[in-house]
Structures are given as C-alpha cells and as structure tokens.
Symmetry: D3
Subunit: 283 residues, 6 copies
C-alpha cells in the first residue's frame, strides 16, 4: 500500500486509483545518486512547503481546489535496490487506467522517472517525451548501475517506439559523446525559441520529465548536482502556457534535495512548479 502523508495543498487523499482524476504519488528514492544524496526527502518536503502557497495560480487563472486532484502518498522506501523499486512501482500502479487517471510522480532522484515514463510509453503510441534537465543522463551505465540517474534518459529511449519522440532542453552538462548523440538525433533544443517551435509542432500527447536542476541553482539551490547557467521561472511559465494548449498527459518532477537548502525555499519553489504543472495536465 502507499504510505500515508499530509497531502499536497490539503488535496483529497486517496488510497487507490478509483475516480477519474489526476493523482500525485511520491517515490522517495535516491539510491544511485553519485554526488550528494538526499532526494529521498523530496516528496514530503514538497508537500510540507505547499502549505505556504495559495492554491490559485494567477498565471493560468485556475485553482487546485476546483479540480479533481488526489494525493496517494508515497511508494514504500527503498534504500538502494532499483530493481525492487521498479517491482514495487509497477505492482502498486497495476490498477492505474491511463484512460481514466493520470499521474504526476514526485522524486526522488531522476532514475525514478523510468517507471512512470514506461507506463506512458506503453499506453500512448505517439507520445512525446519532453525532457527538461541540466544533464544529459544518456550514459549506458554509471558506476556499474544501468538504472543510475545518469542513465535514465538512455533507458527511456530504449523503451521508445519509432512514432515516439524525445525533446530535450536546458542540457548543459555531460560527456562529449552524449552531446554528439543529441546532435545526431536532433533531440536538443538549444534555445528557448527552438524549444517552443519543437513543441508547437507536437500534435499528440506529451509526457514531461522535469529534473529540477534544469532551473538555475540560484532559484533552487536544494538539488544534488547544481549546474550554473540554468533556465529561469518566467520562461518556464511561458512554456507551461504553451503546454496548457497541448495535451499534457503525465509528468514527473525530480531531484529536489531538501537538506541542501536550509532556508526551505527550494521546497517552496518546487511546490509552486508542481502546482502549475498539475493545473496544466489534461484528464
């Protein structure tokens, strides 16, 4: 069973997927983190921080309280075994019917995104994966672990079918070989303008995987592998307004590491980001 929590924005709690609606679930896992661990505390810190925010978004003129959102709580904690985590995730979501319910998953480190992404790739034949991140995450394996957070996009790409597309943006750190791969496959938008163009062309459903280190560390210091030169909040809101006109069917938000920002502001920032994404999602 999911573990009970104080729910996000005091949304409705849910113990299982039942009604039609958008469901929040946390995966408190950071077992493959190579630099500074702590993302395991992300989901609960994000919920806690939501109590300092309003449920109304002036950007989208929508209110969480008027929408069918549910908070399921967290996947049971796993210290390091990604294989057991996947097992647990797929077992707990076996009743999820993506025709009726959608999910927004809270990390944990980026390696957890493999789980929801696989569900969505299996369900939507023409899915576009939108990957916002500072890092390429395209390694074959890292420190002997193929499901490391440094490999997650590689693992996701392996699950993708021909009609499915990958768009990457914000990437500013990786190996030369990874950057070459992005060039060859034309996945990387190198400017915000190029990103908007790429998204404008998408006609099918979109799944967003957002590594919070996509944002400049000045906005969100509480992340394990901060990388200078990130995107700002205003452009992110512009992007969301664009996605709100498209068909955003699922998302995950990962790599919040609360212990690394004693002010707690990173949690508040991330909670606002999650609020906005929830309000953009279609069901």
């Amino acid at each position: 069973m999911f573990e009970p929590v104080k729910p996000f924005f005091a949304l409705n709690e849910a113990e299982e997927f039942q009604e039609k609606g958008i469901y929040l679930l946390g995966i408190p896992f950071d077992g493959t983190t190579s630099f500074r661990p702590g993302a395991r505390f992300g989901p609960d810190a994000l919920r806690e921080a939501s109590y300092g925010l309003e449920s109304y978004s002036p950007y989208l003129d929508k209110d969480l309280e008027e929408s069918p959102f549910f908070d399921l709580g967290n996947i049971p904690f796993q210290a390091s075994r990604h294989d057991l985590l996947r097992e647990s995730f797929f077992s707990l979501t076996k009743n999820l019917d993506l025709n009726k319910q959608k999910i927004l998953t809270l990390g944990g480190e980026h390696s957890i995104s493999y789980c929801p992404a696989k569900l969505y790739l299996d369900h939507y034949k023409n899915l576009t994966i939108l990957h916002l991140d500072a890092h390429t995450d395209l390694r074959e394996q890292y420190l002997d672990e193929p499901y490391s957070h440094a490999c997650v996009i590689r693992r996701i790409v392996e699950e993708m079918r021909e009609e499915q597309t990958l768009i990457q943006y914000g990437i500013r750190s990786g190996l030369k070989a990874e950057f070459n791969w992005m060039k060859e496959n034309n996945t990387l938008a190198t400017s915000f303008e190029e990103l908007k163009e790429k998204i404008n062309k998408v006609t099918g459903p979109i799944y967003l995987t957002l590594d919070l280190d996509f944002f400049d560390p000045s906005f969100l210091p509480g992340t394990g592998t901060p990388e200078a030169g990130g995107e700002n909040f205003h452009n992110f809101i512009s992007l969301l307004k664009l996605l709100a006109q498209k068909n955003l069917v699922g998302a995950d938000v990962v790599e919040l590491s609360p212990m690394l920002d004693v002010s707690g502001n990173s949690n508040v920032f991330a909670a606002k980001v999650v609020r906005e994404i929830l309000l953009c999602m279609k069901n």
Copy 2:
C-alpha cells in the same frame, strides 16, 4: 521612547524628531505572520549589514554621509498585539511634522505598514501609494485578525480618500477574488513598462510600501513567504531613478526575516535597497 540601536550606516542617532530631515525607525513586529515568523529581527539585522556596504551610491551618484539622515532606533517590541503596536506607534510619532520630517520605516512584517501609511494618507490629500509585493494582501481578514499581514493593503485602502491612488506591481500570489478586485480597480501594473507609465502620470507625492518578497527569492531568500517569479534588482534601480524625479515623501521596507538566510546576504541586499530609497526621498 524609541529603543537605542547601533545606527544604520553609522548615521546620526536621534532620540526624537527635531531637526528637518529623513528619519529611520524600526518596528520589530511579526505577530500576525501565518507561515514562517522572524521578521521581528529585520530592523537590527539590516542595520548590522549596512556596515559591509559603502555609503555612496553609484546608481544615483549620491552619498548618505552628505545628507540629513537620522536613525531613531526601534518601537518597543510587541509579541502579538497589533492594537497595542498601533497605539505605541502613533504615540511615539505624535511630534512628527511631515512638513519638516519624513520617515522610512523598517519592518517587521507587512502589517506594520498600516501605521506609517495612515500618517501619510492623513497628511497628503493627493497621495499615491505604490505597493511593491509578491502578495495581494487584500483579504478582509485572515485567521481572525483584520490587521494581519495578509490584509494590510485592504486596511490601507479603507483609509484612502477619493483623490488618493493605489498602484500595485509584482503581485503574483493571492486569491482569485483578490486578483479580480485589482482588475476591477485597475490598480495592478502587469508589466514593468505599464508600471513606468503609471508612475510617469503621477504628479503628487508618492509613498512606497515595499514588501521585500517583491524581489525574486534568489536575490533575497530571507523572507517568510517566498514566491518564485519576482522582480530583479536592475529593474528596481530603474524604478528608483524614475521615483527620484518624482516626489517620494515616505516609505517602508518590510518582511526581511534574517534567520531564514544563514549567509546573511539577504540582510546586505535589503540594506542596499534601503540606502537607495533613502537617497531618493525628498524632504
């Protein structure tokens, strides 16, 4: 009597309003804070931080040391009773003659702005209140407290006469009803360009109430209710250059919460902001 302090930028200390001049006074109050308290430590932290800055502003080409500024110290501490705070404030400022002296008040939380704003509204028939903030602060009451920091602009509006005007900018959090009120009353400038236009049209005296969470939290993490998507320092300086050409007669700077930023940088940022405002004020 005011409580003695180590004065801002080693300005002249003053025990009472006497000479013509601009007077700084602190109100260490955070009794209605609903999220994270600590703004009570704002005034002294701001003074302390000023010692790491120069008294000269290259933006305005003016120097605090060449100007008639005085630091009065703080209003005696009140833990929670806003009614007693107002009493104490109005009693301690009863000799203030706005024809001879002007004041810049340091919070404390935003609820304290009611006090100086009322003095200025009573004195200047055609006053414009310029409200820079992340939050609407327009609730009728909040948690049973009509003088809560979430209601202060509502309380100030109630004191305004017909010839007096409210301009709001930076607001990005509130209830839908509050945003609707701003639209109906056309108080909110939704872009920096629109703000400059509105200010350019002002011919009378201006009072500035600046909630420091107006700024993006990346610049000032030390505030109780941080809200992503705020304004930057460069635009603030542009705004001040504009105000320097107008008649800025009073100001308050509120919601610095020093405990929330262990680096102390928020205090230094706020002290610089206060230096610039002091240098813009007319007497």
Copy 3:
C-alpha cells in the same frame, strides 16, 4: 476539526476522542514568544523525526506499537490570539473524558500548557503539577500579555486548589522576585535528589509540563530561549522510571523550535522524549 497529519511513529490516527486510550494532539502556537519564534513548527517536526526512531524503548522495556495510542493531529493554527486559541482548544476537547482518555499535548510555546493543565486541574482534585523548565514562567504579565509563555505557571497556579501541588525543577533563569516566590512556596527542587524525594512523596495523579529548554542546550539546541546549565538525558530517564511507578495521567512537551537546529537532531531528541513519556502514562 483537528488538522490531519502524518501521525507520530505511524500510530493510529484518530479524528475524535472515542476509544479508551492515550491521545496525542499538537498546538502549533508561538504567538507570545518574546525572543526567537518558530515553536509553531514543533508538532509536525516532532512527528516527522519519529520515523528515524524505533518504537521500542529499552529503558522501559515497552513498545509503542503494543499500546493504545492515537494521534489526533493539530489544533487549527492561530498566529497570535491566545484567547481564540483557548476557545478553540476547549471546544475541540469538550468530548474528552479524562476517565477514559488521557492526552499528551505537543507545543508550540509554553503558553499552550495552560489549556491541558486547566482540564486536568478541573478533573483531578489532588493533582500534582510537575514543572520541568529552565525558566520560572511566573510573571504576572509580560509585554502586556497575561497569557505569555513567561507567565504560564503563574496562570496555572491561579487555577490550582489547596489540595493541588506544584513541583518545579531545572529552573535557572528568572527575576529575583520569582525565585523568592519559589522559595517562599517551597516549590523548587534544587537538586535531582531533592526532586526524587518530592516525587516519592506524591500519592495522587501527576501532570507533567515539560519545557524542552529544561534540558541543556547542548542536547536540544532547537529551542527559542536556550539557557546553559540544564539537565541531561540520563537523569530524565531516571525521573521517568520513577514516574512510571506513580500515576502519570497527562503531559505536555513544549518549546521545540525546529528552524533553530538545522541538523534536525533537536527534533529527534524531542521525539524520543515524547516516546518515553507516552510509555510512562497510565490510562
């Protein structure tokens, strides 16, 4: 209604007093704090920290999981109005039957202890109040507030009947007049031996009000008014073993201020203290 939370040690959640048992409830209030606020975050931080501890106590050889404990959640937040807080508390506990249920209240600041103490004093004619604290808390009023945390024991004393007794221990800060009062009324145990003697003589029910600054700040830095020279954990456990042989019918644990200890260790310490007290309480 109480506000839902992630319950202490994953105990049973309860929405109301129903079954026979010991109930935990939080009062997130710090409205009269005169120095460093933040005790409002105590109840939730304490619950969060409990997840890093075992439910078994080797000191008492008892286990929380084998006992009828319930977590009610928190009293709704009040920023500063102690009168409204009392109203809310007494209304929410009106169905509490001390013959069937007992409560352990989590602060918040010490001023909240007035509420449960009054319930117990009204119910148990021969109650002994055991007051563990660094501070006298015996002022008539403080900063115009008679229900300030600096006055709470004075307020409690006023509710006491002749057959009811006050024992104080750990006190090491206050006015000379307060220390004189304690001498005249022979309430203060000045050594641990004297405390044990006093408790050994108690035959009736005991209510414990524990201000966490009773402990030396080296053990619990996260408190608003730390005072050197406090008691250690070993003596506290000895005291509890003594109380376990008596009739401990109620308790409150107050003045944990999580923001003041970024390591989070104060929360863990306090959660362990609460675990031990819960296991000592009789129902």
Copy 4:
C-alpha cells in the same frame, strides 16, 4: 587503485601495502542508509578536519608524527551496490598481510565494517570484536538488504568462530528481539564498569568497530541516526587507555555524516577520535 586524497594529518601517503605499518583507508559508501544519507563524505571530511588538530595526544603522550602511519586514500565510490563494494574491497586488500600491516578503516556507513571485520576474523582465531554503537545492528535483513547498516553485526556474528567473542557497549536503540538476543548471548555491557571488566578479561587481539553515534549527539551531531543518551568523550579516553594496554590490532570508525553538522565540529571530533585510536593500535 585507491583514490588519492589529501592525507590525514599530512601522514605519509601510500599507494599500496608495502612497509610494516598502520594503514588508513576510506570507504565512502552510504548505499543502505535508511534515514539520512551522507556518510559517503565522511573519510575526506575527517582528513580535512585533521589539519585543525595537533598530532600530539596529551592523553596518551604519543605523537602521530613519530609513528609509522600511512594513508592509502579511498576505495572507489559505489553508490548503492554493496556486493560490488565487497568485491572491490577484498580485491584491493589482497596484498594486505596482517602480520606486517594493520588497517584502520574510515566509513562510510556501518555496513562497510563487514569488510575489514571479515579480514580480521579470518586471520585471528581468538579475536574479540568490540562493538561501540547506539544501535543493535542485529537484524536479519532490513528493507530487503541483508548487508544493510542495520544488519552489519548480525553478518559479522555469522562469520565468527567459537573462540571469537563479541562485546557490545553503548547500545540504546533496537527491536525488543535484538535486545533479547544480546541478553541471551551476554554480549552487552550495560554500564561502563561492566565494559571495563569484560575488556580486562580479554587476553587475545581486539578489533574495534566504532559507530560514531555511540557518542552522545551533543558531541557529534553530524551522524545519520542520532540517538539521545550516548557516551561522553572522557569515558572513551578511559576506555582507550585500557585498550592501549591490550592488543588492539584493527579498527573502523563509521557513520560520520558531515553535511548534517554545518559547523564542521563533528568532523573535528571524529578526527581526534581517529587520532587516539591510531595511537593505541599495535603493529
């Protein structure tokens, strides 16, 4: 190969086991940590902190600079795979000849102690393992991981032969079943006096596994699972003076988690502890 570092107390660096001497090596692993991770940063933080200490110990009247110590650096980092860690450790120490060289291993979390303990148990038939810790660490498995830091003493016990003995001290947290096991096997010294008695009876070689949460968290806040009621530094020094008269042949010091103590003092405390142990070790 070991990874190079700035060596402890500027001791001699070594790339391999060669000369007769005492060798320091770090294992930056925290992959099974169930509460707060970060012990991976322990070895380097400990070395860094050693530069603020003197190399001379007034307690033992000995100086590190006059002794044959070498710092090997660290085992290559593993994020989560304890099986690969063991493989790497045993491969890198295959040239270690315990007749000529001794090792002091720096964690990392407690699970790493299995590695050096096994080497010593294999070599010394009549070894005594001295286990100083706050936690029992005797679980069969924890969160599906048999080599979890909550199971390490269980794993070590499984490697022990009949003539080999376990002495435990400081333990104050665990399951009831684990405490029962310790009683049945008479491994736990429940007072410092009892500990000294037990050690006085030892005639053979001693291996010390020291989980730093053995100490009271007031001395060492920087550890993942702090537990109130720990031992103090003075008793530890008394214990070491006793061990100095015995035959201490190896040791590990684990569970320093530098990120949890921003003052850095935990690192300094731990470095002093390591200095004293090094000076007690026989070669």
Copy 5:
C-alpha cells in the same frame, strides 16, 4: 574613540573611563587565526545575545542592573596588524585607572588578551593569571607571528614578574614541548580538584583569561578551534563561586566565533558566562 554599540544587557553606555565601575570593551580582532576565522564578530554577537537573558543570576543571587557596569563599545577594527592593535588599545586605555576602574575585555581571538593582561601585570605586583583554555598557547611564534593566538600565554609569561603566578586549567591540546613546559613550571591543574586547591591558596588579586574553547564544544560549537573533552558549565559556576570569594580584578573572554554556530546558541552561552564573570568581579 571607541566605536558605539548597542550595549550589553542594556547596561549604561560610556564613552570614556570616568566613574568608578566595571567597564566592558570589545576587541573585534582575529588577524592571527590559523584555522577558522570569525572571532572578530564576537563582541557584537555577544551583546546582541544578551537581550535574550535575564540580568539576574540565581547562581550568585546578584543582578547586573543593581551594579555599576558600563559598556564602552569596541576598539576600532584592525584586519591583521597586531602591532597597530596594541598601539590602539594602549592609547585608548591610557586614562584607565585600575584603582578606580576595572575592565572585562571581549575578543576577538586570544591574541588580544595580551593587551589587558599587560595592563594588569604592570599594576598588580602579586597578580595571579588564571588561564582557562583548551590549548597551551605557549609557542615562541607561529606562522612567523610572535603575537599569534597560539603564542599569547608565552607573551604574557614574558611580562610576568617573580611574584606573579600562572595557573592553567582545561588544556588538552598542544605540542609535547609545551606540555613539558607546563609540567616543569607546575602551572597546569590536571583536575578540577587540583584547580580549586591552587585557587584556594591565592591571596592576591586574580586576572582571568578565558578562551571559550575551554568549554566542551557541545556547549559552545561557535569557536574556531574546537577541541573535544572540555569542561562543563556546572564546574565553571562552581569555580566562579570560589572566585567570588577571592579578589577577581579583571578578565577577558575570547574566541567566540558566531558564524560557526548558525543556531546562535554559542552567543547566548557566552553572554551568560560574561554576565556571571561581571557579577564576580570586585571593584
């Protein structure tokens, strides 16, 4: 002139030595600190923290408010030049008449103690210097600086005449040669009992130089060179009660480094220590 400050415990401010009384003055200097700097912020942090304490001491049953204390403020800041600091100190104290006034000096690092100690050694022929510290501070020179904080007691000893005596206590870190010097000169009390004996024999005036790292770092983490195994607060109070029966004519309290303890508790601890010493001093 001294630099003005918010005075300790709201004591009387003074601009010069005039009336008979005990004077507090700060020396914000940390120019020779070899490990972690920041003691320059000690004097002001100590004053700030005093506002959270009572002026009454239950240990000594005396109240600061009833005594002739004055706060002079600080010596002007010097970044690194100890020669200029000495010059400035002796010039600013040239009107001090130790027959009428006494001083308690607040550091800054320990090197500043040379200044007041020299004044007292010159004035009192039979002075006893009581040195409480973790470190020997007896080096001839350190990093090319003879007035380093690692050499201050050596420099003071050089100023001592035959009838003047040095008592040292708490020392637990230094070179072997320094420990040998203390043995040869019989200056070190190696137990609290021995210390009390030594002090009981003193008949003349006593000057106390207290390096706050004398205390265990668990009580005062905010110091530059923390050293495990320090003294506790209770023994310090016992010592002060003994000194109160003797003739304590002067004191300095050094090495508080506020930035190293973000909780601020070290400042509060040190302020209480200073309060107690002030109340013990004779005039």
Copy 6:
C-alpha cells in the same frame, strides 16, 4: 614547497613548474579581509567541488582531460602578513617561465592578485589587465594596510607601464573618488556591449583578474562582500567565448568564501567558472 592537495578535476599533480602547460596554484590567504573572512578556504573547496562536475565544456566544446593542465597545490598558509606572502609567492614561482608555462591562481581574497599580476606585467610589455569585480579596489590604503583587498587594483595600476591597459567591468561599489578616477582614466565599461567593444580592440595578451563577487550574489552567495546587481553566468560565457578568440595568458579567481554558503553551491559555481577559464587560456 607547495602544499599537496587533492587536485582539481583529478588533473595531473605537479610539484614544480617543468613541462610546458597551464598550472593551477592556490593562495589560501584572507588576512586583510575587512568584513567577513573565510576566503582562505577557497582553493581547497573549489577543488573538492570540481568532483561533481564534468570535465567537458559544452560551451567551448573542449575537455580538461585532453589538455596539458597541472595542479601545483597551495602556497603555504599565512594568517595575516601580506609581506611574507609576497615573499613566499615570488620565491616559489622563481622557476616559472611564462614563455613555457602559464598560471591560474586561486584565492584567497583579492589582495593575492597582486602577486601573479606583477609577474605578468613584468613579462608582457603590452598586457591588458581585465578586472571583473563588484568593487573598485582602488583605495590608496585601507585600515592602515596598503596591500588590502580594497587596494589591490591601485597597487596593480602602480606596476603598469604606459603600453599596458586596464579594463574594468561589473564595478558597482566604491567611494565617489574611486568612481571619478575610473571616469577620468576611462577604465570602466558601463555596459556589457561597451565591454565587448573594448575587448574586441585588444590585440595583445590579456590577464584576467576575476573577483567572484562580480557575479550576482544570487549565483554565488559564498563571498565575503556580496553586492546586489551583479552579472549573470550567460554573459560571462559570452565574454569567455570572446576571450577564447584573443590571447588569454593568465588569470586569477578570488574571493570564494565557502563557509558563507552551507549548500556548497558557490563552490560548484566557482569550479565551473575556473574550468571554463582554464579551457580558454592559451599556452
């Protein structure tokens, strides 16, 4: 000899200047710091942080691992004597042949830049010094110290010959007289456009002295004298791309103060900045 360290990005270690190549060396000095000290910890923190970054730069499409870089370690520590520091630096670099080797120096406070700048000014007749900073640093002397970090550019200017040029950018704090000097000597670029123009005109070798407070404090909170209104990372990269087309022969990066940013992100930011500069330097 240089002091050994864990080298930057695991570059080759070097004990002396030998091969042709670019050499990194640290100067852990903050003896003249007037506000908040701690820059002495900059060089090692920067190296430590480099391990969380990739050695490949996607901005410049170059990789540190493919280039002839060496890390020499640090100049021996000096607490306060700038004269001895200069002596030590010039002695340790006496074998440096700028025809074969180039250096990038890591501070330490800005005062250390005098040392490498003098070497370069002596060697390159037509050198351009590019000074990026928040502060003028043009005082004749500061607090009696002519080599203070507030005077370093003045000292450098005094070493410059007629054909050598100074370009300053980012400056936003100083005395009016210092701003006037910059105007008179036309050294200050007041916009990024103007800066690029000035650099475009340079034909000879360029030496960069980068005080990290040049950047906005939101990017790098860990610096001693933060000053709002700084430059962002994107413009810095644009500038470097321009410098990569010129002849950048040397550089220093100063004023990182790790203790002031407990998140450690400032160190990571600075390490990335150093990586980019290294990759731009010509040899």
